[in-house]
Amino acid sequence: MNETHPIRVLLVDDHDMVRRGLAVFLTAYDDFELVGEAAGGTEALAKCAKLQPDVVLMDLMMPDMDGVAATEAVRRDYPEIQVIALTSFHEEKLVESALKAGAIGYLFKNVSIDELAAAIRAAYQGRPTLAPEAAQILINTATQPPPPGHDLTQREREVLKLLVDGLNNPEIAEKLCVSRSTVKTHVSHILTKLDASNRLEAVTVALQHHLTT
């Protein structure tokens, strides 16, 4: 670490105490400099524009513009700023979408300070860091069979959503302005594709795998 100037870090988290703790952590290292804090995505973008940090530590779940959207915006507008996602959520989709949005690191809020420091330095040099759990999730996603319903058409998804809402065939037909027999065909396709024996099972599968959201 022979840089002449320390790595400039921006903290983005909607929780005060998290920012406070991370601020203490940053002061303990000479090669890091805390340039600013933001409590939401919008504020983060403003701070990026003003402070031009090297690395952003980004919480993902925030009330005002979530972390994924903020990451995407930061990477689009300031490609030289690296973003590390720091979250307590273990959801597959979140890992995937954060990385797709351009985050170079994905860490959970159980990370040790050494790992965190290493991740900031790596990010500054353009190297990615993934928490082992995040890596595991990515591997699982890649090797898992496609989730049920991946091959549903747009129309079938619409019908499925109305099924989840508790509508019957005539009501669905009315809502989508199609004939009842068309709805019947859609429903039978849905049952086949979701490997469900009846409508209730189809709805259950849909809810379990978030097919309608």
């Binding site: 005060d16 998290v18 406070r20 703790g21 991370l22 203490v24 959520f89 300070i113």
Partner: protein, 788 residues
Amino acid sequence: MQAKVSNKKYGLLLIAVFGILFLLFIIGYENYTRDRQRRAVEAYAQVIAISLWHFEPKAPTDYLRLIVAEQDYERLQVITLEGSTFVHVESPQVHTFDRLLIALKLIPRVEIRADIQYEGEVIGEIVAIWFSKTIYVYFYVLVLLTLLIGVVWLYRHILQTNRELEMRVQKRTAELHQANVELRESEARYRSIFEDSPICLREEDFSAVKQIVDDLQLNGATDFGDYLTRHPQTMVNCVRAVKVLNVNQNTLELFQADHKEMLYEGLNSVFTEESLASFQQQLIAFAAGKTDFECETVQQTLQGEKFWAGTSVSIAPGYEQSWGKVIVSILDITNRKNTEEELNNYREHLEELVTARTTELLALQHQLEQRVEERTEELAQVNKGLNIEITERRRLQEEVQRYNKILEQRIADRTRELSVLYDVTAVAGNVLDLDELLSCTLERALTAMRCETGAIYLSKNGPAALHPASWQGILPEAVNELNVLFDVIGPEQLAAKSTPFVISNLDTHPHLSESIRQSGWHTFTAVPIQGSGGRLLGILTILGGPSASQSVEEMALLASIADHIGLAVENVHLRRQAEEAAVVEERRRLARELHDAVSQSLFSASVIAETLPLLWGRKPEMVRQNLVDLHRLIRGALAEMRTLLLELRPASMAEAVLGDLLRQLVEGVIGRTQLEVALNVQGQGAIPIRVKKNLFRIAQEALNNVVKHARAQHARVNLTQTGEQISLCISDDGQGFETNRSEAGCLGLNIMRERAETINATLTITSRVGQGTEIVTLWPANSGEQQL
């Protein structure tokens, strides 16, 4: 004529009324004008009042001089220039003008229009017109006009009357003329009728006959008829005295005469003896004062042919005294006479016939009487048959009535069944607890079936594992023992059948123990309780005595009740599922809050704790502060954790003291934010759980608002508890808000208000932009919440 008279009167009356009205008006108006003038004059100047009205007409200048004192001006002149009259006053005093104006207005019989000038400037206009003069003229003109109109109207009226009279005279003349013409026409018509009449007409003069008759009567012949019979010569004289004036054509033909003279000459020869006799009768009648006479006699023509003549003789009106004109009409009635004779003959013949026919009819009548007797007998027979028929009808009617009664009974039964079903449905809708539901519905089913004993068995896993869930009027052991009967029936069979299954030999059933057989039950009715898709949920059983009814209707009712119980049970299951789902949702919420609050705090604490050793060597001065922070974070996390535990175990809320709960809350807030919150608790005592819970929630919501929206540095929570009331005050030094703005409702304030209302507390929010917010909740201890 009547209308004309009244019109005339009306016109005169109108004129009189007009005249009187005008007179009254003129007198009234004059009085009025005079009064007004007098008042005006008196008001302005007494001198003018006395002088003006009574003075003879004078030149305007004289009047003006009378009014205006001489010392008030140097020169006063009335000048007439080009038809306009000016009053010229030199060097007038100011009040001179007032007087001049009054004077000019009051000068009688003079019209003045003038500008009043002062030093060449127009300072007023005088319009002094003697209005009443003009009005007099109008009045006279109006009166004259009215009179003129009246005269014209009268003249016109007279002309009209003249014309009408003339017309009436002309009309009468025309009418007279017409009457003359008609009279002449009538005369001519009479002549022609006389001549052309189909009847024989003769005009005769009986004056000479009258003379003879009068003479005879003067000579004392009282019985005229008798005298004539005894003196035929007089009779002949009388015949000769008749003078024929005229005969018509028909008469000539009847008497076979070629012309009138021929008939006049031979008239005496046409008399037969009969006709002479009738002439005698005629004379007697006329002498007795009659004017008409009719008779039928045999007469003969000039050629001597005899014929029957109907003769009618009458004295023409106006000749009653002189018998100067007598009309004789003769009808040849020979044919009629002949016909009469024939008719007589024919009548005799008819009478003979009638006699014969009467005999026949009598015979026929006898036959008819016989027939009537026969028919009466027949009718009596028929009547007997009808009586039998009526009896039959009555019997049928009774049958119908009986059937009606049965139908009514059935309707009553149906109504009862429906009400039972309604009851069951109502229970199913209202009762949440499964056991309660089953016992309620079982009770109703038993009431409906008029039985006292029954049980509901439920199955968890299909038909195999039935277990008693609710029972009535029976011991649990017996209920368990009755399970045996399901094996006898076979639950699958029950489920498949879906109608009641009845075992009616309970008292001798081989599978049952002695104690049940001796219990007095005879019938065991089992009805499957089915859920959606025919799934067997359980079985409803009814135990009845030997007299228990097994009618089709009751079985159907039982099946319906079972269906409703099935629906209700499914409802309860669904509700239970929904409740479980709610529990799962609650757990998720807690997890989210744990993440939001506690896990973030702990992560922060762990980062700080890990960093401390590093700082120890490098920046020891920061270590102490960070240790304080660390402590605060962990305390905060702990407090949040406890608060969350309250959510998990609501009972712990009941045990805790409100002060402690608020302390946890405040520590939690301090732990996770930069906000400095001071807590001040004063007084203590028991608080109803509901009040405690709601006050705690209000504090929680208020602090959340401070953290989220207020941007405050400091906040304060004060809890003051006295015997009378509890006061909870949460205040901050943040940005505040307009309490009357719509956004005020968005900050969860409504929820707080609702919470305060539920415990009858008052919630006051005081806030202004830039001056912080204060939320005070006051709960009066005597509000009746103590009992809660």
